[in-house]
């Protein structure tokens, strides 16, 4: 059914890695942020600085993971709009490739890159965590992939409405980045004013952060079924909406 999916996905990965800054921007950059910030905070860490330690242990990994997910989404928005503007989507569509195959390939590419970045981050971050610290890397990676997959559907929705490739990046950033401020990453949702709390509850990123944060801390999946459900709902709604408004040319 998904004829050509594997070939197209592999091809798109190769093409992506050929972009100048492509690999650097979306794979190495988050890792670099992680390492630099880790060093900086680590250097400040005195014996009693619990806040710094906490940030290093939990806040930073989650923050960088969210960055990874958002950069994947932004890159998806850009790629889709460039492909549409250049007639590439239309050309691919005039082959036996099914539309869902073409789009699925792009989602797979972004998920693969997210997983790869995640792996590099774990390697780079090993030194900041004492050997006995238990971090559920596997579970966290699954959580990150679920979160990314869900936010990617927002990316598709944005890609459906941006008029030209030139606007893709700024519009995508304008929609996605404000979410970071409200998602509980810097300020816990509970301590926001009530009005903003209400907004935070409809920001999909809130659930992504809650899930990532919880899984990283070693909480059980069963405690975060609500987050997963919310992310799945976001995916379902955004996918259904994009299916209605997505333009191939």
């Amino acid at each position: 059914m998904l004829r050509g999916l594997r070939k197209l996905t592999w091809l798109e990965i190769k093409i992506f890695l050929r972009e100048p800054l492509g690999a650097f921007g979306s794979i190495l950059f988050p890792v670099l942020v992680f390492v630099v910030a880790g060093r900086f905070v680590g250097g400040l860490r005195g014996p009693g600085s619990l806040a710094a330690a906490g940030f290093l242990r939990v806040g930073l990994p989650v923050f960088v993971s969210v960055l990874i997910a958002l950069s994947a989404v932004l890159s998806l928005v850009t790629v889709i709009s460039i492909y549409r503007e250049g007639g590439i989507l239309k050309r691919l569509r005039a082959t036996p490739l099914r539309p869902q195959t073409i789009l699925a390939a792009h989602v797979l590419v972004k998920l693969a890159l997210t997983a790869l970045t995640m792996a590099l981050m774990v390697l780079a971050g090993k030194r900041y965590f004492p050997a006995h610290t238990h971090v559920p890397i596997f579970g966290f990676t699954v959580a990150l992939l679920i979160a990314t997959w869900s936010i990617l559907s927002i990316g598709f929705l944005i890609a459906s409405i941006v008029p030209t490739a030139r606007f893709a990046q700024p519009i995508g950033a304008a929609i996605l980045y404000p979410m970071i401020g409200l998602c509980g990453l810097f300020v816990p949702v509970q301590s926001l004013p009530p009005a903003l709390q209400a907004v935070a509850r409809v920001v999909p990123l809130t659930y992504a952060v809650s899930l990532l944060d919880g899984i990283w801390k070693g909480e059980a999946w069963s405690a975060h079924l609500g987050d997963v459900a919310a992310l799945v709902a976001v995916f379902a709604v955004c996918t259904a909406l994009s299916a209605k408004v997505f333009r191939w040319e």
Partner: protein, 307 residues
């Protein structure tokens, strides 16, 4: 060409974009093994019509059958048997030529050998080049390769040579003739009358979304522009009178020693030559100006195709 067996049948299709009617009541047939051209200015509805036949775009009304199939209901079967080159399409900037051919080949049940195809199209030494580094002509040749990879029975070429320099254009024309010689049916659109005259067995002239006339280029010229023009130069004093006496002459214009003579019919030029010969009129110059599709278009639509 033998008997006319239609492989494409289009009957009264209509397509609007909002309030704009792109195509209305368009009907035509394309016969097996012929090169059929849809010609008209930009925005006339050529691409919309072609994309409806390809199954890329759904018409609002009307019937289309291709190879006896419905392009929408039988989309998979149709796609396997047709090859498509879209107007202004691009590929991924950094896809390599061989990768594109390889991907396309993997999508069809019985693909041709991609390497041989690239060789035949003169792209063998560009196998590893990125799409973005190809010249306009090379890109079009790659698109032809992709349109041919599944060994299709019908090939669609939309504005194939637009934007190419004359030399690349001629090279592409040779390729299209090669496709026809392999027994395939070619359906193309162009706004270049020269291209239509050189490539097409039959053309349909389309304007404002409607077909104005259909026929072979020669037929259309005979039908709409039967007037032939002969331009000659002579000092003979009797020339004007004698030339004016030719049976089907319509007009003789004299400018000094140069005469422009217009008349109708297949034999008109011969009659002028006979007249010169019988009257022993010595000429210093003799030219015929034959009408072409460009003139047919001007006659039918009241404006040049480039306006």
């Amino acid at each position: 060409m033998g008997t006319f067996r239609p492989v494409i049948h289009v009957s009264r299709i209509r397509k609007s974009y909002g309030a704009t009617v792109a195509v209305s009541e368009v009907s035509f047939d394309v016969g097996e093994g012929e090169v059929f051209g849809l010609i008209g200015p930009n925005g006339a509805g050529k691409t919309t019509t072609m994309e409806c036949v390809e199954g890329v775009r759904r018409p609002d009304a009307g019937r289309i059958s291709i190879l006896g199939l419905d392009p929408f209901r039988d989309v998979v079967q149709v796609q396997n048997r047709i090859g498509v080159q879209l107007q202004q399409a691009q590929l991924q900037k950094r896809i390599k030529v061989w990768e594109a051919v390889d991907l396309w080949a993997s999508l069809y049940p019985k693909p041709l050998d991609g390497n041989r195809l690239l060789e035949q199209l003169g792209l063998a030494d560009k196998r590893n080049a990125w799409f973005m580094t190809l010249s306009g002509g090379q890109k079009q040749r790659l698109f032809i390769a992709l349109a041919l990879i599944n060994d299709p029975e019908v090939v669609f070429l939309d504005e194939l040579t637009t934007g190419l320099d004359p030399q690349s254009r001629r090279a592409i024309w040779d390729l299209v003739r090669g496709i026809r010689d392999r027994g395939k049916t070619v359906f193309l659109t162009t706004h270049l009358m020269e291209e239509a005259e050189r490539l097409c067995d039959r053309v349909a002239i389309i304007e404002h979304g409607e077909i104005v006339d259909i026929g072979s280029p020669e037929e259309l010229v005979r039908r709409h522009c039967p007037t032939r023009t002969v331009i000659l130069a002579t000092e003979n004093a009797l020339a004007e009178e004698r030339l004016g006496a030719i049976p089907r002459v319509e007009n003789v214009i004299r400018q000094g020693s140069q005469f422009t003579i217009q008349g109708r019919g297949e034999d008109f030029v011969t009659e002028v030559i006979q007249c010169l010969s019988e009257n022993r009129i010595r000429v210093a110059d003799f030219r015929t100006v034959l009408p072409n599709l460009e003139d047919v278009f001007l006659k039918l639509t009241g404006h040049s195709i480039r306006d």
